[in-house]
Structure formats: structure tokens, C-alpha cells
């Protein structure tokens, strides 16, 4: 996307009620799978559904606080930044989203890179 047209474009992806509390749903955007998480504070996060360790599907993990524990080998990934907690290292791509009127919108600028 060029600098000139950098006006953000938002796509509606789901209603917040569609995401289980302390759970996630998966969005298929072309080749990329994006996991949308929701916690008990009603915060939502969007991460690529690929653990930085060996690519495990983070959407299938257990969510606690602002962390998800990967179902494959139990790495803990911070939902906000997409980075692994100590002692592990590595980050996964995060996506900008916003919630308006109980609807979740994803910033499609970051999607178009794919």
C-alpha cells in the first residue's frame, strides 16, 4: 500500500460475542490464519496463528490474563505484543484491531502485505 493512500481501512470480522471468553476464533485471510483472542476483561487481540516456537496453532491454547499458552509445547505468548515470555524467545506478528459497537474490526493495511 502506498504512502499516499495510507488512510486506514477497517474490515469487520466478527462480533465480540462470537469469540469465547478466555478463548479464540480463527480467521482465514488468504494464506494467513489469524487468531482473535478475548479475555475476561473483554479485551481482544489479533495474532498470526503460528507459535514462534514450531508454528503451533496459538488459537487452540489456554488463555489467561494477557497470555496464551501454546498447545504444542506450552510456550507462553503475550497477546499484546505477540512475544514469548521468558525464558523463551521469539515473536509472532500482531494485527491492529478495534472494537466498535460490539463489533471487531481489523486494520486491513497489515493484511494486504500478504
Amino acid at each position: 500500500m502506498s504512502e499516499l493512500t495510507s488512510q486506514k481501512k477497517w474490515i469487520q470480522v466478527a462480533a465480540i460475542e462470537d469469540i469465547p471468553i478466555l478463548g479464540a476464533r480463527v480467521i482465514q485471510a488468504k494464506e494467513t490464519r489469524i487468531a482473535i483472542f478475548r479475555n475476561t476483561e473483554n479485551e481482544v487481540f489479533a495474532l498470526e496463528d503460528r507459535c514462534p516456537h514450531k508454528g503451533g496453532p496459538l488459537s487452540q491454547g489456554i488463555v489467561h490474563g494477557t497470555t496464551v499458552t501454546c498447545p504444542l509445547h506450552a510456550w507462553n505468548i503475550n497477546l499484546d505484543k505477540g512475544c514469548a515470555l521468558e525464558p523463551d524467545e521469539g515473536c509472532v506478528k500482531t494485527y491492529e484491531l478495534k472494537v466498535e459497537a460490539s463489533l471487531i474490526w481489523l486494520n486491513s493495511d497489515c493484511l494486504s502485505e500478504f
Binding site: M1, K9, I11, V13, A14, D18, P20, I21, L22, G23, R25, V26, I27, Q28, A29, K30, R33, N39, T40, D49, K54, G55, G56, P57, Q60, G61, I62, V63, H64, G65, T67, T69, P71, L72, H73, A74, N76, E86, P87, L106, S108, D109, L111, S112, F114
Partner: protein, 816 residues
């Protein structure tokens, strides 16, 4: 809110550990000031021995550098000794006049070396061995003088002597008692130790009392040491290592009650409620400790109370000892001398230099003393701490745990024999050298810390024993938790048992209630405690507690087994391993229609369809029209059967029918860990019932029941429980045993772990001897499993969130 002021006196290992624990719990509660009389930040005193021996440098043993104090907002006063505490005004004052007020005061003044009251003990060249200053002085003396004498043949004295000898001095150890380390070793082990140290060049004078120290010819420092009886030998350096005494002078001058140490209660509080104390300076229930492990337990409890959580009691510790002299392998713990009411098992190989003694009381291991081969020491120590019943392993106890077989680290069972390059943790590829380095450089003390920093032992756990041994070898003692108390996870300071009791006593039926009433520090727990609590809730209050799918591991939430690429496997349930042509046809059709990449026969007599997309799962289940297997849950897995008397020429019982009945009975059963059964029709045991949680073997006159078998990381052979006559009895006895396991085992314990913890006698008493107890258990199981819903069909009733099977498509992306 204004912060309270916490002042700590004594900048040593126990005190700083308490502050670290406190900061973990709450870093905003206090403004913290620390006074230390040494001019250094907190360092690892234990490692002064390897420093003296030239195996490590001083820089490497710093535990908390100055930056740590600063970044945690702690005001550190090094080189300032507190000489006065005014409890009325709540102030402390240092030698140089520096003064601070406190709301809470923490005393961690450690101990002082005991200096023999003999003439000449104040001569230059006579010293103790306690801190960095002493160590540097000893290193310096060793470059200029020849003859060293160490008074005291205990742990500290021997490590000092070894270090000085390695630095080139000629060292004599003088010891009052009849044998070395008499507080930790019996005579046999001590004699072996002496011989081994003699071969390294040390000399010993046992049964010898010191009378006086005399100056050298020029009169400027010590020159000789004279013993009772008249013997005199040259000594340019005399190190007093004859014991320590708690450093209580300051506390006493402030009027705090002391009795050998500063007296504290189980919350580490002194007689003044504003003043706490931890470390070598305290006396708890009449005991003082001189090793780090118990002090760290004290630190944890003390921090909890300082943080105003007010839970956790210090109940005293069982300690163990290991001498940190490279090349000498020695371990002792508990009551190693034996005595009234105890029995001993010993093994002596005086040529090979190996000696082992185990002391038993009431079928429990209460003490151990080993020399030459200490590979099993961590296991013995664990048996002692857990107070495990060892009656059934008595015959093999001496040979240790390792003769049972252990996979994943090239067959190594002893770290002593491993090189730095050898792999300890096969799952994560961590070598022995990497672990040793991490322990030393990063100041690690516990298994959990090693797990965190190196990842060793954090996956399958089979190398835990090896990692514990490495810790022990580097640090000289075992840092595991207090006896029988292991916290469930970092979210709360409660053990599995305490959580269970809480759920039962308070009649808690939801995760939220458990966390709020039992004092969780995290808002929604973590991936370790949540599944455990969920299990405890639904097993304690069946049909009442709320099952929480989001607290279950994905396999139990999606009711299929996650694979490494994120696809799932489906294992259609074939009760007892029996199937029909119609079922096989449906399986074949599904496999083709959904392009299942792999179809495999499993070890549990089932067919596994691997590589199914999550979104396809509901359709696959529907078209199979069979319940799936819980081939992945902490639940009933499979009942394997052999052919049995319906066809087999050897068969004595209908093993297939029995197996099908059992599997139907147990349908929908969740448990602390997976549960596998097998039924064989005769003792040839083709269904391999000997390595199952419950193994049933038909004989001419009925059935034999075996329990606690396991074919996993550690192969465990099931033990005989009893023999019964009828099919109904098989269901009742095995059901009752499984219910007992479900009610009492800790989450993630297999039946074998539970069996080892409580002992076969206890289980026999509950299941075999006491018919009433058995019937009640069986009834509770039947009640729990009544109307168990089929999660592959009845989504609504089984509480399956079907939204998870629908990926949300994004269509607009193309147009951006």
C-alpha cells in the same frame, strides 16, 4: 496510599531471598532499605568453596548486582553494621550514625563462626572461614606460606582444607570427634571419606583437642599449634571451622526473645509483631539451620506474610548434605545413624570404595548415608520428604530407582559419570555443561529455576532426577520444597491436597469461587492450575460443578487429538477393540471423503485417522456414527482385550466380553491422568495387562486384578491387588479402585504414582478388606458416570462450543 517502610538488617542469602520473594508477590507495598556489614552486594556464600579451590571466580558468585538493587528501588547501605535497634521509636542505627525508621523490620544477620577459647586465638594468621574477606586472605596466605591447620572436620572444614591443599599448602585437619563429619556420617562412611581425602594429600588428626596456638620465631604471627597430650606441629595458618553460632547479639540488645537463635513462630515473626527474622540467625521450633535450602523455605513464608497475604506456614525442614569436594561423592540426610525402632539396610564394597546405608522406620525411609555412589540420593531424599511407604520396594530399594529403566538420556543415571557434552534433557537438547553453567552464572537454586532458565526437564520430566543431581553436585544440598508440600503452580501457595480439601470443605463449584476463596494471585490462573482445578471441581461435585471447556487442554476442548501441524486425529471408539464390517466400511468411506492422509492401527487396538482439519471434525464424527475415543484426554482411554475363551484354545474366561463391559461402564470418565485397561483370557496375557492402570487376567477359577502398571517413560509393572470370582466383582473392584484414584490422586499423577505415594496396603484396605468402603466408592463412580453425554454427538449436553469448528473467512482482502 503511602508506602510502608521495610528495613532489613543483613544483606545475605536468606534475607535477600526474602526480598526477592516479596517483590514477586507485591513490589509496591514497601520502600525497602537494606543494611549489610560486608562491603559487597549479595553473593552466593556456598560457592566460596569452589572459589577457594580455584574452580570459580568471585565475579561469578554475585547473586544480586548493584543494578538489581537500584532497579527495584532498594536503598542499599553496604559496609554499614547496625549497632542499635530502638523498637519504641522504630529506628535502627548503624556504626557510622546512619539511621532509618521502619514499619516492619527484617533481621537476617546470619551466624558467626565459633572461635575456640584457647590461648593465641587472636594471633595474626588465625582466622575463620565465612565470607569473601576470609577467602581472599586464605588465598593470599597460600601463596606465601606452607603449613595450614584446619580445626574442625565437618563440612566447612573439609572444604577449606581441600581448597588450601589445591592451592599448594600442606594441610592437616584436626578433629575432636572419633570420625569426620560425625553429624552427617556414620563411622564406616567417614572412614572411606578419610581414606579418599588422604589419597589427595590431606592429613588428619582425629580424637584430638587443641590446647594452644603459639607465635612463630619473629613473633608476628601464628607459628605452631599444640594439642592436649603435648603434640605440637607447625602452622602458618589456622582456620577455625569448629561450628557456627546464630548471630543474635543485636536482637538480644533490642530485647527480642532469643534462645540460641532469635525465636520465631511458624510465620517467621519474632516476639515483636513488627519484626521478622529469617536465616541462620533464627531458632524455629527449637531448631537452627545452617544450610541454604531450609532458609529459602523460610524466606518464602516470610515474604508471604510481609506481603500481607497471610497464608503459608513454615513447618521445619528435612535437610540433606553433600560435600562439595570435586571427586568425592558423599551424601547424607535425615536420621542416618538409626536407633530405637529403626532398621538398616547396608551395602559395603570397601575395595570399590562404595558404602550405602538406608535407615527405615515403620516402612518409611527416615535416613540415608552414602559414599562413593550417590546417584540415587535425590530419589532417596524424595522418598524421605514425601514420607512414602516403601514396604513393597524394600527388596530393590538399595539398587535405586534407575534399575526400572528410563528413556530419553542415553541411559545415563549418574551425572558424576557424564561429561559436559552429554545430554541430560533429551526433549530440549540441554547438556550437563549448560546446566552447570546456568546454575553458577545465573545463581539458580531450585529445579524450577533450572527448568525456567535452561528448559531442561520442562517437557517430559524423565530427566528430573538427573537435573536434581546436577543441582546437588554444584550447590551441595537439595533445594526441593518442604516435606510433602509442593505448590500447584506459581499462582498460589497451596498444594494439590489443600486445594482439593478447600473445594470439598467450602463446597466450591466454580473456577472463580476457587480462585477468589483460596487466594489466587492471578486473575484467571494459568495453563497449569486451570485444568487441575477443573478436574477437581467436576470430580468432587459431579453433576453440580460447572465444567469449563476453556480450562481444558485443547484435546479435551475439541474432543480430538491435536497434531504438530494443527490438524487433528480421530480415533473411533471400538469398545474392547471389537469392530464390525459396517463400521470398517464407514471408516474407509470417511477416510477417502476427507482425504485423511494417514490411517494407522494404534497400540490400544483402535484405528486412528490422522490429519483431519478442525472444521471437518463435526462432519467426520457424524458420518462415522461412532463415538470417538478419548484417545488423548485425561480420561478413560482404551480397554484392550485378547481373544479369550470364545475362540482361543487356551482361553479360560471371556476377556472380550469383560473388556467391552468395562469400557462401556467407564464411558465418559475423566481422571487425574489417562487411564488404560486390558483384559486377557488366560495367564499368557496376550493383551499385556501387566503394564496397564488396571490389568485383568482370567484364570480357571475367576479373575486376577493388577493395578498401577504403566508402559510410558518409565515402564512399571502392575502389582497384584486381589483375585475375584465373578464379572460383577471385576466391575466393582476395578471401578472402586479407579474411583479412589480419581478422588485422591493429584492431577497428572498416573495410578502408579498414586499407588507409590499411598502404598498397596492402604489401597487393599480400602478396596479389598473393607467391603463397605468398596461399595461406596463404586456407587460414587456409577453416580458420576450416569448419563455421561457423548461429546461427539450431543454437543449441547456435553458443553461443546461448536463455534470453534468454524473458521471465519475474510473476503474483502482481495479488494484492498
Amino acid at each position: 496510599m503511602k508506602k510502608q517502610k521495610l528495613v532489613m538488617i543483613g544483606n545475605g542469602m536468606a534475607g535477600v531471598r526474602t526480598i526477592e520473594e516479596l517483590l514477586k508477590l507485591n513490589s509496591d507495598l514497601y520502600d525497602i532499605s537494606i543494611f549489610g556489614s560486608e562491603p559487597h552486594p549479595n553473593y552466593n556464600r556456598i560457592l566460596l568453596s569452589p572459589v577457594l579451590a580455584g574452580e570459580q571466580t568471585l565475579e561469578q558468585i554475585v547473586l544480586n548486582d548493584l543494578e538489581w538493587y537500584e532497579s527495584n528501588g532498594i536503598q542499599l547501605h553496604t559496609g554499614k553494621k547496625i549497632t542499635q535497634i530502638n523498637r519504641k521509636e522504630r529506628t535502627v542505627t548503624a556504626e557510622d550514625g546512619t539511621s532509618e525508621t521502619y514499619d516492619r523490620l527484617l533481621l537476617a544477620t546470619g551466624s558467626l563462626p565459633f572461635i575456640l577459647p584457647v590461648p593465641g586465638n587472636d594471633l595474626p594468621g588465625v582466622m575463620a572461614y565465612r565470607d569473601i574477606k576470609d577467602t581472599l586472605e586464605m588465598i593470599d596466605v597460600s601463596t606465601r606460606y606452607k603449613n595450614a591447620v584446619v580445626i574442625g572436620g565437618g563440612l566447612l572444614g573439609l572444604e577449606a582444607a581441600n581448597g588450601l591443599a589445591l592451592r599448594g599448602m600442606s594441610v592437616t585437619v584436626v578433629h575432636l570427634a572419633e570420625w569426620l563429619m560425625e553429624k552427617q556420617l556414620d563411622k564406616t562412611a567417614a572412614d572411606l571419606l578419610r581414606k579418599s581425602l588422604e589419597s589427595k594429600g590431606l592429613k588428619f588428626l582425629l580424637n584430638t583437642a587443641t590446647e594452644a596456638l603459639t607465635p612463630n620465631a619473629s613473633g608476628d604471627r601464628v607459628g605452631h599449634i599444640r594439642f592436649k597430650g603435648g603434640l605440637e606441629i607447625p602452622a602458618d595458618l589456622v582456620v577455625m571451622a569448629a561450628g557456627i553460632k546464630p548471630n543474635t547479639a543485636l536482637a538480644e540488645s533490642a530485647g527480642l526473645h532469643c534462645n540460641r537463635g532469635i525465636v520465631v513462630n511458624d510465620t517467621m515473626q519474632t516476639f515483636d509483631p513488627r519484626v521478622y527474622a529469617v536465616g541462620e540467625c533464627v531458632s524455629h521450633r527449637g531448631t537452627t539451620y545452617g544450610l541454604v535450602a531450609p532458609l529459602f523455605e523460610q524466606a518464602k513464608v516470610c515474604a508471604n506474610h510481609l506481603a500481607e497475604y497471610g497464608i503459608g506456614l513454615y513447618m521445619g525442614s528435612v535437610t540433606s548434605t553433600k560435600l562439595k569436594v570435586t571427586g568425592v561423592d558423599l551424601f547424607s540426610a535425615g536420621n542416618f545413624m538409626g536407633g530405637e525402632g529403626t532398621e538398616e539396610i547396608t551395602l559395603t564394597d570397601s575395595i570399590g570404595g562404595v558404602y550405602k546405608k538406608l535407615v527405615l522406620k515403620d516402612d518409611r525411609l527416615v535416613g540415608a548415608c552414602m559414599f562413593g555412589d550417590t546417584a540415587e540420593s535425590t530419589w532417596y531424599f524424595k522418598l524421605m520428604r514425601d514420607m512414602q511407604n516403601v514396604a513393597e520396594m524394600r527388596d530393590t530399594l538399595m539398587f535405586g530407582e534407575s534399575n526400572i529403566g528410563d528413556v530419553g538420556h542415553q541411559g545415563h543415571n549418574k551425572v558424576a559419570g557424564m561429561t559436559d557434552e552429554d545430554e541430560v534433557c533429551g526433549c530440549n537438547g540441554v547438556t550437563k555443561g549448560a546446566i552447570v553453567k546456568a546454575i553458577r552464572d545465573q545463581g539458580l537454586f531450585t529445579l524450577d529455576e533450572v527448568k525456567k532458565c535452561t528448559k531442561a526437564s520442562s517437557s517430559c520430566g524423565s530427566c528430573t532426577g538427573l537435573v536434581e543431581q546436577v543441582l546437588m553436585n554444584v550447590l551441595g544440598t537439595d533445594y526441593s520444597a518442604t516435606p510433602r508440600k509442593k505448590f500447584i503452580c506459581g499462582c498460589v501457595d497451596l498444594s494439590h491436597d489443600e486445594i482439593r480439601q478447600g473445594i470439598r470443605k467450602e463446597h466450591l463449584i466454580s473456577q472463580e469461587a476457587v480462585r477468589s476463596q483460596l487466594g489466587w494471585r492471578t486473575p484467571n490462573g494459568c495453563a497449569t492450575c486451570r485444568p487441575a482445578i477443573n478436574y477437581y471441581l467436576i470430580s468432587t461435585w459431579p453433576h453440580e460443578a460447572k465444567d469449563d471447556p476453556q480450562s481444558r487442554f485443547i484435546n479435551e476442548r475439541a474432543h480430538a487429538n491435536i497434531q504438530k501441524d494443527g490438524t487433528y486425529s480421530v480415533v473411533p471408539r471400538m469398545f474392547g477393540g471389537l469392530t464390525t464390517p459396517a463400521e470398517l466400511r464407514r471408516i474407509a468411506d470417511v477416510a477417502e471423503k476427507y482425504k485423511v492422509p494417514t490411517v494407522k492401527v494404534t497400540g490400544g487396538q483402535r484405528i486412528d485417522l490422522l490429519g483431519i482439519k478442525k472444521d471437518d471434525l463435526p462432519a467426520v464424527w457424524k458420518e462415522l456414527d461412532m463415538p470417538s475415543g478419548h484417545a488423548y484426554g485425561k480420561s478413560i482411554r482404551t480397554v484392550k482385550t485378547c481373544v479369550g475363551d470364545e475362540h482361543c484354545r487356551f482361553g479360560t474366561q471371556s476377556s472380550m466380553r469383560m473388556g467391552v463391559e468395562l469400557e462401556r461402564m467407564l464411558f465418559g470418565m475423566y481422571s487425574p491422568h489417562k487411564v488404560k485397561l486390558a483384559v486377557s483370557g488366560c495367564p499368557r496375557n496376550c493383551a499385556e495387562a501387566g503394564i496397564k492402570d488396571v490389568g485383568i487376567i482370567g484364570v480357571e477359577s475367576g479373575w486376577e486384578l493388577y493395578i498401577g502398571g504403566n508402559g510410558g517413560i518409565k515402564t512399571e509393572v502392575a502389582e497384584f491387588l486381589c483375585k475375584v470370582k465373578t464379572d460383577e466383582e471385576v466391575r466393582e473392584y476395578s471401578g472402586a479402585f479407579l474411583q479412589l484414584y480419581r478422588e485422591e490422586a493429584w492431577y497428572l499423577d498416573r495410578t502408579v504414582h498414586y499407588l507409590q505415594r499411598v502404598g498397596m496396603d492402604y489401597i487393599k484396605q480400602k478396596i479389598v478388606d473393607d467391603a463397605e468402603s468398596r461399595k461406596a466408592l463404586y456407587e460414587r463412580l456409577v453416580f458420576d458416570l450416569k448419563d455421561a453425554p457423548d461429546p461427539w454427538k450431543d454437543f449441547e449436553r456435553a458443553g461443546v462450543d461448536v463455534r470453534q469448528f468454524k473458521t471465519i473467512p475474510i473476503i474483502e482482502v482481495e479488494s484492498v
